[in-house]
Amino acid sequence: MIAADTLQGPAIDWFAVSPLLILLGGGLVLLVVGALTPRWPRGLYAIVCAVSAGAALVMSTVLWDDISDNGARAIVGNAVAFDAFSMFVSIAICLALILVSMLTADYLEREDLDGPEIYALYLMAAIGAIVMAAANDLLVIFLGLEVLSLALYTLAASHRRRLASQESGLKYFLLGGFASAFFLYGVALIYGTAGSTNIGEIVREFSTRVQTERTDALALAGIALLVVGLAFKVAAVPFHVWTPDVYQGAPSPVTAFMASVGKAAAFAAMLRVLVYALPAWRDDWRPAIWALAALTVVIGSTLAVVQTDVKRMLAFSSISHAGFLLVGVEAAAHTAGETEVGTGVSSTLLYLMIYGVMVVGTFAVVGLVGRTGDGATDIGAFRGLGRTKPLLAVGMTVLLLAQAGMPVTSGFVAKFGVIKAAVEEESWVLAVIAMVASVIAAFVYLRIMISMWAAGPEAGDDAREPVRIPLASGLAILAAVGFTLVVGIAPGWLVSASENATALMRGMLP
């Protein structure tokens, strides 16, 4: 008997999960090194981190080819969706990670913080993020979410000499745990109604049943709770409250990491769960997303207007960006589950990629201007930057214009894509709301630009510690700006990439 049932696990396609393995490997190397060897110069840690991220990025592209040849499929016991969608996201995440690790190197140097642990956490968080995008099982999504979140809580609190950092960590942790409990409850209820947490099963189950059985309150409650969890992660109003505090308190590179990787993962997960797993319920959750999107763009932009701390401003602006992304999700909702898929998903992906790079660049500048102690993030700290550090100011200006969605920058392309998607699905009202809200947001960016270029010097400006631009950060910013402009001028390739990724998303396949 015992011999009769020797357990054989599912076939594990190591090649397919290689990006994750690379990241994991990098993380472990760092830990081992940190634990066993004498300290390396900090730069090396960053290099290890960047290199493994880069390797993962390359692998993702390679896998993409494989997918476009052999088609998307579910692997490792249907737990992971092996499709271009996840690859696109993982590329975006790795890209952001590379830039962030460059910033962090200089940041740690300046703040005199140590430790490979931070990079290790970056890598682990990246794993969690990629898993969220690639998961084919709600439980896996939850686990990925937790990996990402726990890492982020820690990173946010990682600046030991800034109470603000730890405060933000605690806030983020409490609220995050609170929210993920809701998410998990949602998973449980879906499990109860669909009979499994596996997305494939869920899709099959609901697609056969919902038509006959409309009032499945339990499932709806589950969806509601899932939406809550995801909305919290993407910082959609009214689940955005944590964002400004956490963004402001966390060390600038970490903030950049949250804003780029965190958002990307969250939205990827949202698309997975809602658009892919629950198309049968789209008429139920689409209005909710509509409302969330409208609220988020408007309130996010509005709240930013009166802020005086640049990091907070950008936090709120990231909220309004989340609103724009939600507009894309709303557009995707219209064609969720259909073979003739609209541009909703692809536009959201495009936006994520662009915003990720853009926001890292922006926070990089903020971090540099923050000066030692990472405290000088008040708008006054930018006064006269145009004179003292013109190149930095120019870069910041470009990035801010991109955030405002000005043409010739990637920001415009992103915005255009999302609005186009919305319009194609005939949700004009939402499109108009979003555009008008973006005008309000623009005011904020203008304020920063003014203080950089037009504001007259004030007493004590010269007493301020001069802004230093270390090499790595400089390169990172340069890269971000370059990307912003290149994509702004020649976005064709990226657009088709995102559309290709969508076409090769598991479940979007005809």
């Binding site: 599912p10 300290r39 140590d114 682990m124 309150a217 339990l218």
Partner: protein
């Protein structure tokens, strides 16, 4: 019989839970938490989840709560927090509204669903249980754990690593800062 078990356990669970919320002394709260956890364990047993019941008792009621108590003692935050005053203005009413809203909606959902048809079987929540294979509970869990959930299992390992790294990073003393000058 089942009824009795359920009622007692439910009483333990809710009693403990409420205790956690209302007991102004952290230590008492922790102890009420233990009560709840035991109650939940009992219910697990009632639901034929023997393995989980065990884990619940050992890991949760054992390890975690001890950890809580340990921290409380360690940091000496065991000062009484008086529940009666609420510094933040509308917090309490808000909490009540949220509580009532949450409970009522969830309960209605459940009750609604109890009649609805559940996956697989063409029958409602309250209909007779479909009994799976009569393998032992542990064995089943093991199978699924290393079967369909192997990826999740691996992922959890990452999660634990993160937790470890986190503690390492956070518990460094602020004053001493390593690294080469």
């Amino acid at each position: 019989m089942e009824l009795v078990v359920f009622v007692c356990a439910a009483a333990m669970v809710l009693g403990g839970a409420i205790g956690v919320v209302v007991r102004s002394h952290p230590v008492h709260a922790a102890l009420s938490l233990v009560l709840t956890l035991f109650g939940v364990a009992v219910l697990f047993v009632a639901q034929e989840a023997h393995f989980l019941a065990a884990v619940q008792v050992i890991v949760y009621a054992g390890a975690i709560v001890v950890l809580f108590l340990f921290v409380i003692m360690l940091l000496g935050v065991d000062r009484v927090e008086d529940i009666d005053v609420e510094p933040i203005p509308v917090q309490r009413p808000l909490a009540i509204i949220v509580g009532i809203g949450l409970l009522s909606v969830l309960v209605t959902a459940v009750v609604q669903a109890s009649s609805a048809v559940v996956a697989g079987s063409g029958s409602g929540l309250d209909d007779a249980t479909v009994t799976g294979d009569h393998d032992s509970n542990v064995r089943q869990i093991a199978r699924s754990l290393f079967g369909d959930y192997v990826f999740a299992f691996e992922l959890v390992s990452v999660l634990l690593v993160v937790a470890v790294v986190a503690t390492v990073l956070l518990s460094r003393r602020p004053d001493k800062t390593g690294g080469p000058r």
